[in-house]
């Protein structure tokens, strides 16, 4: 099943940090998000401290019935932060970790904590099975493998083909923990963890169900697709979401990459991660390198 085409997104990913030299107007952006009737706002604050505006954003958006997922650096999660969030708590609070070893020094049992966010890279992907085993055993309810952020020119990462097999094998003996909800945005990470379940999003959802806002207020179709479609310093989120640039891009993404035509897997993967394919090949017709 593929999700339907929407007139405006239901989900916004917004990285507030690292704070740029020219500050984005956070409260103005929050008003834009509320005006667009977004359903879920995923805020990432991965620094030593949380800007005061973040608490106001959470409060205003929660009052507007927007579900908030807040991701903070695990190393900087403190009881003080939890107390600061207690007056307007996010729907989910995720602690970002980059290795399983980080967990052991954390107070992850704090009631404010929903679970972990684990950005996958070439140094830690082999820990995925151990991490899933650990959170299952501990009764942790949420584990998110977030999308890579590529707006600063980072090289896209993908699981090696053998890695997908080895992760699946390592997880094959695991009984699913009934309370654990795992989110994997990368279709090939999904395939590694849930080899028998179709990717729930169907095709790429960049610029359809989601948009991404970087710390400067520049809007992208997806964190993994560094193709700017607007700037919130100049225009509103609604204008960007309903604008011709977004619609034209979305039309391109609805077509299967030319290099995938004839592939027997195309019906299920629908071109995989289109941002990654575009970065590596320089074309919307390129194959997601994770597929090779």
């Amino acid at each position: 099943m593929s999700l339907p085409e929407l007139s405006t997104p239901i989900r916004i990913y917004w990285d507030i940090t690292p704070v740029p030299l020219v500050h984005a107007d956070h409260l103005k952006i929050a008003e834009y998000i509320i005006a667009l009737k977004i359903l879920n706002l995923d805020i990432a604050v991965t620094g030593e401290s949380i800007p005061d505006s973040c608490f106001t954003i959470i409060k205003k958006c929660s009052e507007a019935r927007i579900g908030i997922t807040l991701t903070v650096s695990a190393a900087f999660f403190t009881k003080l932060l939890a107390e600061s969030l207690s007056t307007a708590p996010p729907k989910e609070l995720l602690l970002e970790i980059t290795s399983i070893e980080e967990i052991f020094s954390l107070d992850y049992t704090h009631p404010a904590v929903s679970g972990f966010s684990f950005p996958i890279n070439e140094n830690n992907w082999k820990q995925i099975p151990d991490l899933i085993h650990f959170v299952s055993e501990k009764g942790i309810k949420r584990l998110v493998f977030p999308m890579q952020r590529l707006y600063s020119g980072e090289h896209p990462f993908h699981l090696p083909a053998q890695g997908i097999v080895s992760i699946s094998d390592a997880l094959s003996s695991l009984s699913p923990a009934p309370l654990l909800q795992i989110t994997a945005h990368d279709p090939f990470v999904w395939r590694a963890i849930f080899p028998n379940t179709p990717f729930p999003n169907g095709r790429c959802q960049a610029a359809n169900t989601m948009l991404y806002i970087d710390p400067k207020g520049v809007v992208y179709p997806c964190p993994v697709m560094p193709v700017p479609i607007g700037d919130l310093q100049i225009t509103t989120l609604k204008e960007i979401a309903k604008g011709v640039i977004k619609r034209e891009l979305r039309a391109k993404l609805l077509k299967l990459p030319a290099d995938c035509i004839g592939c027997e897997m195309a019906e299920s993967c629908k071109g995989g991660c289109r941002g990654r394919g575009e970065i590596i090949s320089g074309s919307w017709d390129g194959i997601d390198p994770a597929c090779k």
Binding site: P4, K37, G67
Partner: protein, 103 residues
């Protein structure tokens, strides 16, 4: 009779453009069943509702089944037995998904 309550964890919105399109079609005697006029979102899963589903969903906040049917009969040109059957089937589906409960 028990009253219906929405699961507060379900995030949802009406799609204004689609509602306008559906209403326009209904006014001109057309069918609007295929137009998604509301989106429900929970745990990463999205469900779209047509215009009748949307109107039922909006009333799942303290009303009884009979109250919902009575209101919808005022809005939609439909026979009561047909509407009653559609509403029952839809509410059963919502209850199975744990989107609503009866209190």
């Amino acid at each position: 009779m028990k009253r219906i309550q929405r699961n507060p964890d379900i995030l949802w919105r009406e799609e204004d453009d689609a509602v306008e399109e559906a209403n326009s079609l209904l006014e001109s005697g057309g069918a609007a069943d295929e137009i998604g006029t509301a989106i429900l979102f929970s745990d990463g899963t999205m469900v779209t509702l047509n215009i009748l589903g949307t109107e039922i969903w909006k009333r799942c906040e303290g009303m009884t089944v009979d109250e919902i049917i009575a209101e919808l009969l005022q809005e939609f040109d439909v026979e009561e037995p047909v509407l009653r059957s559609d509403v029952a089937a839809f509410l059963n589906e919502l209850e199975e998904k744990r989107y609503i409960k009866y209190v």
